[in-house]
């Protein structure tokens, strides 16, 4: 059953999956009971000779209760789902925890453009590096992104992080994630963006501290590599 969803390697993935499974079990039970009742009725109440139907009009309070009480139960379960969902939503989409890594993500037919601020931690400076389709982040660190698009609406989707956010031209949308395990994870576009929509494929490369520092030194090979990585870890 746990193989229904992809593996989850993000800190808020568990919160999202928790709501998913809550819904799954609640609606699962209801579904089985309701379909079961329907199937039972179809078998049990097949037309038989000399057996008239029961005149159950459902207009009295007592009879309506058979429907209304389950409906009220559904209502309360729904509200419970909403409550659980609201808390997780706040965590994922409303909060923006302080970050140690900052990136800009741009959607552009049909590539993901990643801009790193470089050792100075600021965008729009000489040490910014822009890479297509490859996003390097350190494992276990909060990463904040600013997402936009230069043309049409795209959607930045990393299934194993349970991360999705539409990239809208004319807007900068902020979000965050924190990955729990190193590895390479695929980035897809989940909003139709033109004929090359199916080719928009990126890689999220999550590295442990050593490998990440090595990549940093490689990408910004200047002065003392240790100075560069030290100031990188102080990014806000």
């Amino acid at each position: 059953m746990s193989r229904l969803l992809p593996p989850d390697v993000s800190t808020f993935g568990a919160d999202i999956d928790h709501v998913f499974w809550l819904i799954f079990w609640i609606v699962g039970v209801w579904f089985i009971v309701a379909e079961g009742a329907l199937l039972y009725a179809m078998l049990r109440y097949r037309r038989k000779p000399n057996t008239p139907a029961q005149f159950l009009h459902g207009n009295s309070a007592r009879q309506m209760a058979w429907v209304l009480i389950p409906a009220v139960v559904v209502l309360f379960l729904d509200l419970g789902i909403d409550h659980a969902g609201a808390r997780a939503w706040e965590l994922v989409k409303l909060d923006l925890p302080p970050a140690t890594t900052l990136i800009q993500v741009g959607g552009k037919q049909f590539n993901w453009i990643f801009t790193y601020p470089g050792p100075d931690g600021k965008f729009g400076t000489a040490d910014d590096v822009t890479v297509e389709n490859e996003l390097h982040v350190p494992v276990g660190q909060v990463v904040r992104f600013e997402l936009s698009s230069t043309d049409v609406i795209h959607s930045f989707f990393v299934p194993e992080l349970r991360l999705k956010q539409d990239a809208v031209p004319g807007r900068i949308i902020r979000g965050w994630f924190q990955v729990t395990a190193p590895g390479t994870y695929e980035i897809a576009c989940s909003e139709l963006c033109g004929f090359g929509h199916y080719t928009m494929h990126g890689s999220l490369i999550v590295q442990n501290a050593k490998d990440y520092e090595a990549w940093v030194s490689e990408t910004w090979p200047k002065k003392t590599a240790s100075n560069a990585s030290a100031s990188l870890t102080k990014l806000r």
């Binding site: 329907l38 179809m42 139907a53 009295s60 909003e191 199916y198």
Partner: protein, 568 residues
């Protein structure tokens, strides 16, 4: 005499006035039915092409040839657009609504017969435009049936020029057509009911059609405005939805979905209405909780206006809006839960006759339940983060729209065909049709739920660029084979429909022993519907009333028979 029923005692003499430019609601209904079934061929064929490409990418599709990514995007756009606007709505509202409303309330026609005729020909024009758009330079619209801007707004992003403009015009005309139809439905049902036909004695089908009409009427306006804005952006250089000109792509999303969500209930409610007519007749029991169902329907209609942004949870709109819209969305599941439970309660304790119509009604209810529960995952913003834009959504909406449109619609055809055409359909072919439809429909979309749960994005020309999708290719193959099975499985229906017209057993007035007024006249009804205007004495679902001499009592049966609603 402003409610001009511009017909005389006799039907018109000329062929054109009788069958082409007819103002008789029964003829117009059949025109809508025919048009919708013809457009369904296009909708079904696009599905075949789409699914073949997904199962066996970049092979030549038998009966067609190769398709490229541009064709693919056009195909999915046409599939959605045609199915919703040019199949589901004409089938359920134009077809059944037009045929049944006057008959069920005891009227001799709609309040505005000439407006009715106009509305059909307007839809015909709109359908022609959408078909024509498939042949213009640049191809048809390719931005999805949702037509998000700027993809749909600026031709450079797709290369589509005329196609998108024609799409806008076709959809606008379709809106105008159903606006006219909706006004007709509402005024007819409110004003032309036969003596004794109180609102609370109207069959649920009529209530459903009316609610759909009101919901459509009140929700379509902002999208008409939006469509005009999109057209101006494309032709006059405005920038309503273009950030480079000061506009906002999310504006289009709001305007579209403000209509788009109520629209799916406009389609769903009449489908439910058909089930609610068929289930009691073939259970020989009243519908369970008639008034409760009416109030739930009205509540659902009202709530449908308050949920639209659940399509936009990750759109970039203010995230604080997500929780209120999650709440309203989840609340709308309550009236639908009432309807579903009440439908189950309707067959519970019955004496069920498994006619083809009944199979389709039951099958529609059973499959709709899957659509309903999967909606909860999407209605909660948190889980929607993961599921939005994946095949989970595709499977969800097919599990709601297909049951109401096709299971419901077919139930309606098998049930009312005798009344419409004066012949009985073949029950064996009907049951074969049901079996194929039910099995193959589920076989298409259960695999797609599975791929969606693994994160399979929508609207991809092929999956080969993503490693995480490759293991699921076999599921796509299964879905495609099932699609072919589903399409071929419609052949018994086509054969049945056509052959029964000429060789079917002649139908009596009331072959199903049903109570509602359409069965109190001949099959098919005469010109003017009723030889004498009927008088209504009772509720529509008095089946198996204790103490009665037979298990049905027509609405027109006067006292003394058994009185209604015994205390339980």
């Amino acid at each position: 005499m402003d409610t001009a029923i511009a017909h005389a005692h006799q039907p018109p003499a000329s062929f054109l006035r009788r069958y082409v430019f007819s103002i008789d609601h029964k003829v117009i209904a059949k025109q809508y039915l025919t048009l919708s079934l013809a457009m369904a061929l296009i909708g079904g064929f696009t599905a075949y092409l789409i699914r073949w490409q997904l199962a066996w990418p970049e092979t030549d599709i038998p009966g067609w040839g190769p398709i490229g990514p541009d064709n693919y995007d056009a195909l999915i756009t046409m599939h959605g657009t045609v199915m919703i606007f040019f199949v589901a709505m004409p089938f359920l509202l134009g077809g059944f609504g037009n045929f049944l409303i006057p008959l069920m309330i005891g009227a001799d026609d709609m309040a505005f017969p000439r407006l009715n005729m106009t509305s059909f020909w307007m839809l015909f024009t709109a359908s022609s435009l959408i078909v024509a758009s498939m042949f213009v330079p640049g191809g048809p619209a390719a931005a999805g049936w949702t037509s998000y801007a700027p993809l749909s707004d600026n031709p450079i992003y797709t290369g589509v020029t005329w196609g998108q403009n024609l799409w806008i015009l076709a959809v606008a005309l379709e809106f105008a057509s159903f606006l006219m139809g909706g006004i007709n439905f509402l005024v007819t049902a409110l004003n032309l009911r036969a003596p004794g036909m109180t609102l609370w004695r109207m069959p649920l089908m009529v209530w459903m059609e009316l609610t759909a009409a009101v919901v459509f009427l009140l929700s379509v306006g902002p999208l008409v405005a939006g469509a005009l804005m999109l057209l101006m952006d494309r032709t006059l250089g405005t920038g309503f939805f273009r950030p480079d000109r000061g506009g906002d792509p999310l504006l289009w999303e709001h305007l579209f979905w403000f209509f788009g969500h109520p629209e799916v209930y406009v389609v769903a409610l009449p489908g439910f209405g058909i089930m609610l007519e068929v289930l009691p007749v073939f259970s020989r029991k009243p519908v369970f909780g008639y008034r409760m169902m009416v109030w739930s329907t009205l509540a659902a209609g009202l709530l449908s206006f308050l949920v639209w942004a659940h399509h936009m949870f990750v759109s970039g709109m203010d995230p604080r809006l997500a929780t209120p819209f999650s709440v309203t969305t989840i609340l709308i599941s309550v009236p639908f839960a009432v309807l579903v439970f009440a439908m189950i309660a309707t067959v519970w304790g019955g004496s069920i006759q498994f006619t083809s119509a009944m199979w389709f009604a039951l099958g529609g209810l059973a499959t709709f339940m899957i659509g309903g529960v999967t909606g909860i995952f999407l209605g909660s913003a948190t889980t929607d983060i993961f599921l939005h834009g994946t095949y989970f959504v595709v499977a969800h909406f097919h599990y709601t729209l297909f049951p109401v449109t096709f299971f419901g619609g077919f139930a309606g055809v098998y049930y009312w065909y005798p009344k419409m055409f004066g012949r009985m359909m073949n029950e064996v072919l009907g049951k074969i049709h049901f079996l194929f439809t039910f099995i193959f429909f589920n076989a298409i979309f259960i695999p797609l739920f599975i791929t969606g749960l693994r994160g399979n994005p929508r609207r991809l020309y092929e999956m080969s660029n993503y490693d995480f999708l490759k293991p699921m290719q076999s599921l796509h193959v299964i879905a495609t084979i099932a699609t072919i099975g589903l399409l071929l499985g419609q052949l018994p229906f086509v054969a049945n429909f056509v052959l029964s017209m000429f060789f079917g057993k002649k139908a009596q007035d009331n072959p199903w022993h049903a109570n509602t007024l359409e069965w109190a006249t001949s099959s098919p009804p005469p010109f003017g519907n009723f030889a004498e205007p009927p008088t209504v004495y009772r509720d529509p679902y008095e089946y198996s009333v204790p103490g009665a001499s037979q298990d049905w009592i027509a609405q027109t049966a006067p006292e003394p028979f058994i009185t209604t609603v015994a205390a339980d």
